[in-house]
């Protein structure tokens, strides 16, 4: 199937109005405050970073979903938005696995 016929004209574009955008922005700002606030408490290193990363990921998703209009994008864009994340995860997970399983007998 040809994409010439598949793409829709401009009149059909989806928009997100300023009201929604401002709500999104408020949410982001609140989350920023929250993340700073909980960082001042010590929940243990693991919890702290998990908390911070969770909040960051929520924020990032919101940005992508609303500001970057991922909401309206086709599957292909979703694939190319998520696949790099997966590779990044792979890179991090594997290097960590590799580093911390090294030859324990000798240390």
């Amino acid at each position: 199937m040809s994409t010439h016929t598949q793409t829709h004209g401009h009149d059909e574009h989806h928009e997100i109005g300023p009201k929604t955008l401002i709500m999104v922005w408020l949410a982001l700002t609140v989350l920023t405050v929250v993340t700073i606030y909980i960082a001042l408490y010590d929940f243990g290193r693991a919890l702290n970073i998990i908390g911070a990363m969770t909040i960051a990921s929520i924020k990032a998703s919101i940005v992508a979903y609303y500001f970057m209009h991922l909401k309206f994008e086709d599957k292909l864009t979703w694939v190319y938005a998520l696949y790099p994340m997966f590779l990044l995860f792979l890179l991090i997970a594997t290097t960590i696995m590799e580093t911390f399983t090294r030859n324990p007998a000798l240390y």
Binding site: N103, A105, L106, Y107
Partner: protein
């Protein structure tokens, strides 16, 4: 029988060779199979006219499944076997003798449990497992003895290990297999596998290299010539006038040189002796203080031999 393999001189060699042979047999089989078809088709179905009629064949599921499954099974089998042998190579027995290996640009130093130290010569006993505990003083190196089928990179700031049980007496080549700079290809050593008696003598011996009595019957200058390569001087010093990491030995004796501390020195026996045993004391201008100290590694006799050898290089 298999002359294309290096000598089988350790307990690990057969295991590796078996996997290697298995993969070879498989590879040869598949290669011949494919070649037979390619050549066969190319001959049998050679174009005769421009208007040859050919059938419209686009695939066949059954055959495609077959040629996916069979290689998959074989490949996983190869993996499993390779892994089993690899585990063996990575698991030293508890009774292994330990040798500390220090690799540096570009020589090998071996420190033994009995306080002995050797350079570029490793002594091990036939039939007794040894474990190398290795570290590097500068960059990556790699301990590689083809006849034993062992190899392990050596890292700065970390220990790595490797073990084997030599099964044959004799002398084997040790290579540095990880690129480590200019004289990487000169970073060679010898592994001497001694029978139990010879090893006992070597173990108790006071001198550095007794028990092998490699070159002591030669005249000093000739012994020096051997030491020049055996002890790795050639990694940094040429005998043909080119400056490598260190100054050349050619015409060295008797000349006058400037040192980094400003002093000028005439090269004589005493200076040479000091330069070999404590090289950091005086550094020749234009060079880095990177030469390892041979104090406690070379015997007096050997230093003399080297000096005699240097004198002959006019």
């Amino acid at each position: 029988m298999l002359s294309w393999l290096p000598e089988n001189a350790s307990n690990l060699a057969s295991g590796v060779d078996n996997v290697l042979l298995f993969v070879t047999v498989l590879s040869v089989f598949f290669f011949l199979l494919i070649s037979a078809f390619l050549i066969g088709f190319a001959i049998k179905y050679r174009r005769k006219t421009e208007h040859d009629e050919t059938p419209y064949i686009t695939g066949n599921e059954l055959i495609e499944v077959i040629w996916t499954v069979i290689p998959s099974v074989l490949l996983i089998f190869i993996f499993a076997w390779g892994y089993i042998e690899y585990r063996e190579m990575r698991t030293p027995p508890d009774n292994a003798v330990e040798v500390n290996v220090v690799a540096r640009q570009w020589l090998w130093q071996f420190d033994y449990y009995n306080g002995k130290k050797t350079i570029n010569e490793l002594y091990v006993q036939q039939g007794r497992p040894v474990r190398m505990v290795m570290r590097s003083e500068d960059v990556l190196h790699s301990f590689f003895v083809p006849d034993f089928r062992v190899k392990q990179d050596i890292l700065p700031g970390n220990y790595t290990q490797l073990w084997f049980t030599p099964t044959k007496a004799g002398t084997f080549e040790l290579f540095c297999a990880e690129y480590c700079g200019t004289s990487h290809s000169q970073m060679l050593a010898k592994v001497h596998v001694l029978g139990p008696e010879a090893y006992a003598i070597w173990e108790k011996g006071i001198g550095i290299d007794e028990g092998t009595s490699v070159a002591s019957t030669l005249p000093p200058a000739e012994q020096g010539a051997e030491l020049y390569t055996n002890r790795g001087c050639n990694a940094c010093h040429s005998i043909d006038g080119t400056a490598l990491i260190g100054p050349t030995f050619k015409g060295l004796f008797g000349i006058t040189e400037k040192m980094t501390n400003g002093k000028t020195i005439t090269v004589d026996e005493n200076y040479l002796r000091e330069s070999i045993l404590q090289p950091q004391a005086l550094i020749v201008e234009g060079y880095q203080p990177v030469m390892p100290a041979f104090e406690g590694i070379l015997s007096d006799e050997e230093v003399t031999a080297l000096i005699e050898y240097i004198k002959t290089l006019k």
